[in-house]
């Protein structure tokens, strides 16, 4: 387990530099001391003026408020094609089954997967790839009808279903991919995107 003070110093410095530190990842690294780190970070963030967001941050937020998944907006803003991202991910995650990885990535980008079940390695790979934390960008904040994105997810998601089949369909219909049937036994790739259960 990493030392709380060192994690805090690292996060604080990144924040005031205008970066988007991945708070959940820091908390995971803090292990049993996550609660203390969360409280320390909260106190810090209330006593420093928030830095100006980057143009990427603003553009992604605008997209999420217009009903578009944030990761999709970020990729488009970076001018990267899905296949380029998938190639990069395949290398970073050491995945051979590229077609299936692509389907999973498209589901993630479209807001169709439960972000809470995504493996840390995927988040880390995407952060390296886009040079910013994307963990909290997956879901649109507002539906295109103006309602709450979270309300839409809560209404749609079955607790037993590993895949949010229709959650963002109205948000980004062009990238909705067929979900894989639930595998009887999840392999390593499944577990990266669906969790271990």
């Amino acid at each position: 387990m990493a030392d709380v003070d060192r994690l805090f110093d690292e996060l604080a410095a990144a924040y005031v530099r205008g970066e988007r530190p991945d708070l959940p990842a820091y908390l995971a690294r803090a292990g049993d001391d996550a609660d203390e780190l969360a409280r320390l970070v909260d106190a810090f963030l209330r006593t420093v003026p928030p830095p100006q967001p980057s143009q990427d941050d603003v553009a992604v937020m605008r997209a999420r408020l217009e009903g578009e998944p944030g990761l999709l907006a970020l990729r488009k803003r970076h001018g990267r094609k899905v296949d380029e991202v998938v190639d990069d991910l395949a290398t970073r995650l050491d995945v051979d089954d590229r077609p299936r990885l692509k389907r999973y990535y498209q589901q993630l980008e479209g807001g169709l997967l439960d972000p809470h079940k995504i493996d840390e390695r995927v988040w880390n790979a995407l952060q390296d790839l886009f040079a910013t934390s994307v963990r909290n960008l997956i879901r649109p904040l507002v539906t295109r009808q103006g309602g709450s994105g979270m309300a839409y997810y809560r209404r749609t998601v079955s607790r037993d279903s590993p895949v949010v089949l229709q959650a963002a369909a109205s948000a980004e219909p062009t990238i909705v991919a067929d979900a894989d049937p639930r595998p009887a036994e999840r392999d390593t790739l499944d577990q990266l995107f669906l969790g271990a259960e």
Partner: protein
């Protein structure tokens, strides 16, 4: 980072006046997330509630609601606390706020948000500690970089930062 709190408040007000709601929300997103995770004590719950806070703030401002004279950061804090209260009470958090909620700047719970700033805490520290804290917590140098800038060791920087963190921890205790 040398600008005064009122300067930042004025900039927030300008953004809102220009209708740049997305800029305001992006600026405060991590602040909101940290508070939600801290209070719910679960990362996933905190992430979900934080999204509801952002939605509520968006709806408030999109509907033209304004809080004259109250800094935007205080509005963010209050909407976050209202949403967390709904979460803990088992009420829906993914619906807009009721119209009759009133926000007051002099709420005792907002004291920290309103007038306590890290640079004020740092200014009370001895010279060596103040220099290290300024480099790391206000200018964003990593501790290793700060050590290089000051011609000292990483361990020495860690020791100098200790008192600023101690003061933050006292603040945590004061705030529950």
């Amino acid at each position: 980072m040398s600008a005064s709190p009122s300067h930042h408040d004025a900039r927030d007000a300008d953004l809102l006046a220009d209708g740049r709601i997305e800029s305001l929300l992006a600026r405060y997103e991590l602040v909101i997330l940290a508070r939600c995770i801290r209070d719910t004590k679960r990362v996933h719950d905190g992430q979900d509630v934080a999204q509801d806070v952002l939605f509520r703030l968006y709806r408030e401002f999109r509907a033209g609601k304004r809080y004259e004279g109250i800094p935007y950061r205080v509005v963010v804090h209050q909407v976050t606390m209202w949403t967390l209260a709904d979460f803990f009470a088992g009420r829906r958090t993914d619906v807009p706020l009721p119209d009759d909620l009133e926000l007051r700047e002099d709420d005792p719970g907002d004291r920290v948000v309103s007038d306590l700033w890290l640079r004020d805490l740092i200014s009370q520290l001895p010279d060596a500690e103040r220099t290290a804290c300024t480099l790391v917590y206000l200018e964003g140098l990593g501790p290793e970089q700060a050590a290089g800038r000051l011609g000292t060791t990483r361990n020495n920087i860690d020791q100098r930062l200790f008192h600023a963190r101690k003061r933050l921890r006292e603040l945590m205790d004061d705030d529950g």
